[in-house]
């Protein structure tokens, strides 16, 4: 036993260098694509920067942020969007994954169909949903009224009460396949033997699901959930194309607002202020993630 431990320890030492070496490519990429841009942000946080010249304004950006109603509105909408998206996308994609890893007629075709939307770039499919959501003679409205489900055309993107739902529909369509694939691959890691034995024990489908699938998948689910949370809070490209934050800022989320501050052609770019908001947005998402991680650990203890 002692001998074994000794050998073990020397291997650990030898492994240390190779461990770092093996981490190096990832760390390098992390530095250039995440750490460096983040540090760069702080360069302009106290400036009014229009892309050409930077003017020092001290804490002005900070005070502006505190009193910026549109920004805080966008924070609320971000939570609303992320919450609604997660509530639907996680259970549905999980259910689909569970069904499609069964022996079902055409399951591989279904998988391909559900995954298909995710290969189309967000910019393109959002433009296409713009067509589908058109009010007058729009494709969706025409179909719904043919089916007798609506009597007057629905203003999918222009009605402040509906716009969030429309955006969520697009997000679900574009993201469902993604999470389904992740869940399926997680389920693939569960050994078939486990199921064989549960079958022998005479467990039915529902029991198998709750007593074997779910607990065995919980580490994978936790990771996927975290991914889903961070992604949901960061989505903006599709909203930008569909509504550009409208009507009257009803669908404005943090990152659409920040994007407009940098790239809007109507007004002078406010890059300095946008960096301020980017940092705050990052903090907000950070708090959410940490809260989730703590919650997940608590759940672990319970389980």
């Amino acid at each position: 036993m002692k001998l074994f431990q000794k050998k073990h320890a020397s291997l650990e030492d030898e492994g240390k260098a190779s461990a770092w070496l093996m981490l190096l490519p990832s760390i390098f990429l992390l530095v250039i694509t995440s750490v460096y841009p983040f540090i760069w942000l702080f360069r302009y946080i106290c400036y009014d920067y229009n892309g050409y010249t930077a003017y020092f304004t001290g804490a002005h950006n900070f005070y502006h942020m505190l009193s910026d109603g549109i920004f805080w509105g966008s924070v609320v909408h971000t939570f609303e969007y992320a919450g609604l998206k997660l509530i639907f996308i996680i259970p549905v994609s999980f259910l689909l994954a569970a069904l499609l890893s069964q022996k079902i007629l055409g399951s591989s075709l279904f998988r391909a169909i559900y995954f298909m939307p995710t290969v189309i770039s967000t910019a393109v499919y959002s433009l296409i949903f713009g067509f589908i959501f058109a009010v007058f003679n729009g494709s969706l409205n025409s179909i719904l009224s043919l089916m007798g489900l609506i009597h007057s055309p629905v203003d999918w993107l222009g009605n402040p009460k509906i716009v969030m739902i429309s955006i969520i529909i697009v997000a679900l369509w574009g993201g469902l396949g993604n999470y389904m694939i992740l869940f399926i691959s997680g389920m693939g890691s569960i050994s078939t033997d486990v199921y064989e034995s549960s079958k022998i024990d005479g467990a039915n489908g529902i029991q198998t699901f709750f007593h074997i699938t779910l607990p065995m998948l919980s580490p994978v689910i936790k990771v996927i959930l975290m991914l889903a949370i961070t992604t949901a809070f960061k989505d903006y490209e599709s909203i930008l194309v569909l509504t550009n934050g409208g009507p009257n800022n009803r669908s404005q989320v943090m990152f659409t607002y920040i994007y407009q501050l940098i790239f809007s052609s109507n007004v002078t770019p406010q890059i300095g202020y946008a960096t301020m908001l980017s940092v705050v947005a990052a903090l907000i998402i950070g708090v959410v993630t940490v809260a989730y991680l703590i919650l997940a650990r608590k759940l672990d203890d319970v389980m």
């Binding site: 983040f38 591989s108 391909a112 770039s121 967000t122 910019a123 058109a134 890691s189 960061k234």
Partner: protein, 288 residues
């Protein structure tokens, strides 16, 4: 039994039919916008823009494809997209499989710090604003005119998620497997290469598929990085540019045709990887 039974069920016939119908309805919803694109790509621009319930063109305009192919330099765009997506995929597999393995199996000082750094920067997303410093950096090292910088950045911004996936999967592989190899005299890297990498196959198939997809559909970043060189643009950028026309109405039908062309290769890739992906699944991954 060659499939994993996530929900093991003897399944009454009616239940199966019900499930099948449900899947069919969802499939119809999922497929509709794609059908809309494909059929729309054969329409006249005006017919396309007028809308209506009927997605089928009154007459098929094949000219849209000719124009999209000619106007948009599609052969070059397709080649660029494939190179970017392949590059991202290979680099991602390489980086994340090693990182996921190290993070799960190794204990050393600084690991937690680095790991937390990855977590931290998963949520510190500064969006499009980060493009500016990265572009300036690429210019400084004279890499702004090359697909390599696009590949590196696309890999870098996506890798955290895959590292977590690999790590999560890794933790479900019993430690005894590599312990045994260690006793057999395998080095840390040797274990990774000979033992762990093959066992990671199911999750790596997923990572391959998703990262290829990620590289394929990257839009804003390549838009910025290829702005001064049309010959480096990927399909995503080329397709959206097809629509814009400065003055006058945009050629939406041409864009639809371009979008259709851009979907085809990735569907082929999906069909290809999904086979491997299934193999990985059916092999049971870990025979405990």
């Amino acid at each position: 039994m060659n499939r994993s039974h996530v929900i093991y069920s003897k399944g009454t016939k009616t239940a199966r039919i019900f499930i099948f119908l449900l899947l069919l309805i969802i499939a119809a919803i999922m497929v509709y916008p794609v059908v809309y694109i494909v059929l729309g790509s054969f329409k006249e621009n005006m017919e396309l823009l007028q809308g209506g319930a009927n997605p089928i063109p009154t007459h098929f305009v094949f000219q849209n494809y000719v124009q999209a192919w000619k106007q948009a330099n599609f052969a070059v765009y397709t080649q660029n997209s494939v190179l970017i997506a392949l590059g991202v995929m290979v680099l991602t597999l390489f980086c994340t499989s090693m990182a996921g393995y190290v993070f799960d199996r190794k204990k050393f000082r600084g690991k937690e710090f680095v790991y937390n750094l990855f977590i931290a920067f998963m949520f510190v997303n500064v969006g499009s604003i980060a493009l500016r410093p990265m572009f300036e950096l690429a210019v400084k090292v004279h890499m702004n005119q090359s697909l390599v910088s696009i590949i590196l950045i696309a890999t870098g911004t996506g890798q955290a998620m895959y590292i977590f996936l690999v790590r999560g999967f890794m933790s479900s592989i019993p430690k005894e497997v590599d312990e045994a190899a260690k006793i057999d005299g395998c080095s840390f890297f040797g274990i990774y290469w000979h033992i762990v990498f093959p066992m990671l196959k199911p999750i790596l198939a997923t990572v391959a598929l998703l990262s290829f997809r990620g590289g394929w559909s990257e839009y804003i970043m390549p838009l910025v990085f290829t702005m001064s060189n049309d010959a480096l643009r990927p399909l995503t950028v080329g397709v959206v540019m097809l629509k814009n026309s400065g003055n006058g109405a945009a050629a939406w039908n041409i864009m639809f045709a371009g979008a259709t062309i851009s979907i085809i290769p990735i569907i082929i890739v999906y069909t290809f990887t999904s086979k491997h992906f299934m193999e990985g699944m059916t092999s049971g991954a870990v025979k405990g």
